[in-house]
Symmetry: C2
Subunit: 226 residues, 2 copies
DNA sequence: CGCGTCCTTGAGAGTTGTCAACTCCAGTGG
DNA sequence: CCACTGGAGTTGACAACTCTCAAGGACGCG
């Protein structure tokens, strides 16, 4: 099970066997505990001590930040295989919630650190993971700072498609509200933009949570950066 | 020299002696080479092979991304002590430029990786650095996704003040254009917002590149999250 | 079948962007 | 010494994109 989810994770696929990671990953697995959460359940809360790391086994997790007046921003969606809650702060500045029903593994941070001290392969993997996270974050900052609403939505659809290895039918497990808070828009703007893309023939929306890519080229063009 | 700059770097100060990092840092220093760049000179370019990591010794560096139509976003400013160019991608998706005259150290990535394989303390430090970078990036994403122009500018001033350990007089080495591209605004909006803050008595602007914090409380209030 | 939640669509408002003129200042050369 | 020049910054008027507010539709669930 673990190997399967680990293999489905990578944006930059590395052969587990080749890196000699397998033993380390098994060791990691041994210190983890399995937990399930229902839709919208809180996995950890803003202000909690950040004593654990998490990894998604099944389902989708969102990490959120709130402003006192209610404005919300979603720092990220985490899919099967992804680690989350791994920022370097002693306490949480965001909360993590289940988008649908999810299964996660929880690893005590201290135990991971101990493992990493003696397992260079695991240490390298953790490092790579963090650096990949940095690259992703820069991509998102660019989107939030300089892209228009249609560009953001197009980028988002393509991002999910790539993350989940889908060519035509892309599942969006999250609500429009989640998408809006992820892209720095409002639900109305997201909805309108999707409708416009549908009318333009770039996508179809067979159900609320499914996007079908009709004209990928025009989406990539709209996204600004493919 | 190295120890001094390393000591001036941390947002989360860790005693170098206590972590036993000193030897590793010296080893790191040995594989680095020193380089100087003039104002606006390019340190690395979009598309270059990401074979090296960099650290600022003196001055300020900006990392930029460009859209074909000319829109620019500044992914980050890097001050003395900061590492930059450490994302996990094989080639650069951004360029790095000197804001003023700068001195940087360049470290071959492979050599760093080799060092990290055998030095758990260095490996841990690199990991911490990456995780801190992730936390910073989340803060920035929140700013770009959900904060208003005045909130962004106030947050920026406070961020620079904290980064450079200043209480009242904060130096902004970068141009208004740089600030705008960092905050996802236009120079006009940045300029107007600074003028409004000045008129409101929150700050003074003795010179173009200097901000004096008159009423820090109102700035923190305006920033939304202090 | 009714209710609630999520989504869509419309109309109008507001923040921020665009375009343009003006100021300020450093550097240069008459 | 002063005029000229160019870049950076400021300010104003207007436009536009996105948000806000509001109503109406779709769908699932009791």
């Amino acid at each position: 099970m673990f190997v399967a989810t680990a293999a489905s994770a990578p944006s930059r696929p590395t052969s587990i066997a080749a890196t000699g990671l397998l033993d380390e990953l098994v060791a990691l697995e041994r210190i983890g505990t399995r937990h399930t959460f229902q839709r919208n359940a809180e996995i950890f809360a803003d202000g909690d001590a950040a004593t654990d790391w998490f990894r998604v086994v099944a389902g989708t997790v969102r990490t959120c930040r709130l402003l006192p007046d209610g404005r919300r921003h979603i720092a990220g969606f985490h899919y099967a295989g992804d680690f989350f809650g791994i920022e370097g702060l002693p306490s949480r500045v965001s909360s993590a919630e289940a988008v649908g029903d999810v299964v996660v593994m929880r690893y005590p941070r201290k135990a991971i650190e101990r493992l990493a001290e003696t397992n260079p392969a695991l240490a390298r993997r953790l490092r790579e993971m963090a650096f990949e996270g940095l690259a992703d974050a820069q991509e998102r900052m660019f989107l939030l700072g300089r892209k228009t609403a249609p560009e953001r939505v197009a980028s988002f659809i393509l991002e999910v498609a790539q993350r989940c290895n889908r060519q035509r039918k892309v599942e969006l497990p999250m609500s429009r509200y989640d998408i809006a808070d992820y892209l720095g828009l409002t639900i109305e703007t997201v909805s309108r933009t999707l409708s416009a893309m549908k009318k333009a023939g770039a996508i179809a929306l067979p159900t609320i949570h499914l996007v079908e890519l009709i004209d990928r080229g025009s989406l990539e063009l709209a996204a600004g950066t493919a």
